[in-house]
Symmetry: C2
Subunit: 189 residues, 2 copies
DNA sequence: CATTTATGTGGAGACAATCTCCACTTTGAA
DNA sequence: TTCAAAGTGGAGATTGTCTCCACATAAATG
């Protein structure tokens, strides 16, 4: 996937330490509050090393969640094999909400990845969008879903859900959004 | 509205200058890139004065768009008088997309206001949410719309639209989201 | 196993942005 | 006109980001 060059032993060790530390901080919910330099100190490496491996905070976030996003994508493909297309899409979207709900860090990361002001979506965002696009395409072909709307709208909705993670009754509202999207996806009238 | 204390003449003058400058910068699209201190220099006041009037960038943004948000809210009430409730809601949501599309600054601001990590929504966000809530309530009472979903979901969708403002074909996708929401709001089957 | 080259390290300090502090100015009321 | 209260501005403290490079370590080579 990202394997272009084989890393030297110590480099790999440092990279892993950084990732492990970041994951902990993430799960604690402090990721976006902590000084970026402190990741280095926490992981026991120099700041230079941190910046060489992960030039930005977002790059680190994406690396941490790379696996999680990959799992999500795999799950999408899996569902596509097991269920009728429309149901696969529905199930996947519900699963996404579950995931986001369970991991504050993932929610914030996805929001950041997608909002990525730098223009192009980061790798994780693209992969996720592709998975959704595939589900939609299949469901359209199947006839269970209207064909006049692209997958982008769904990504936007997911984005809204992820970014609003701190609303008081987030969970209920997130479910409502998915309901809205799914019902809206059946043919108009 | 915000009038708790009568400002001294020079204070008012400075405040207005700051606001005027911010509005220009906003329309130019540079708001979130510009050094905060530079607003002061641009408006011809000291940094201390800037910080006294607007403690954070977000506070300034909200002040700038206070009027615009108020207009939007007024428009919502207006539509509610002119059209059948369901249509009023639809028209309003489309109008929101138009507004967001026309003003990059507003889009970013709304996203920031709503995402407001500080927990409670800022004044502008609350007002907007109230306006949407009223439209939804009326439409539900009218029978044109299902009653099992709250207005929060719509806010989330709008949030997604605003926050994703820089996606390549934002406009089409935003329209799709609204279509999805509106069609989803008709009774499920 | 010695030597060489490529690869990677760490942290001091340059840089950049935010925000505070307070000696001074302006306002408006008495 | 005088004076207290209100407001000002900008130097510089503070805090976070990121670069640079003298040095260390790992693998390749003979």
């Amino acid at each position: 996937m990202t394997a272009g060059k084989p890393l030297r032993a110590d480099a790999q060790r440092n990279r892993d330490a950084l990732l492990a530390t970041a994951r902990e901080v993430f799960d604690a919910g402090d990721f976006f509050d902590l000084r970026f330099d402190d990741f280095a100190r926490l992981a026991g490496v120099g700041t230079g090393t941190l910046y060489r491996h992960f030039p930005t905070r977002e790059a680190l976030a994406e690396a941490v969640y790379h696996k999680e996003v990959a799992t999500l994508c795999a799950r999408a493909r899996e569902l596509q094999g097991e269920l009728p297309a429309a149901e696969a899409l529905a199930t996947f979207l519900r699963a996404m909400v579950d995931h986001i709900g369970a991991h504050e860090g993932l929610a914030r990361t996805l929001a950041t990845l997608m909002a990525s002001r730098s223009g192009a979506l980061a790798e994780g965002g693209k992969a996720l969008e592709q998975a959704v696009a595939d589900l939609v395409t299949a469901a359209v072909a199947d006839g269970g879903i209207r064909d006049d709307l692209g997958p982008g709208a769904i990504m936007m909705a997911l984005h809204g859900i992820g970014a609003a993670h701190d609303r008081p009754d987030w969970r209920a509202e997130a479910d409502d959004v998915i309901t809205l999207v799914l019902d809206g996806l059946r043919r108009p009238l």
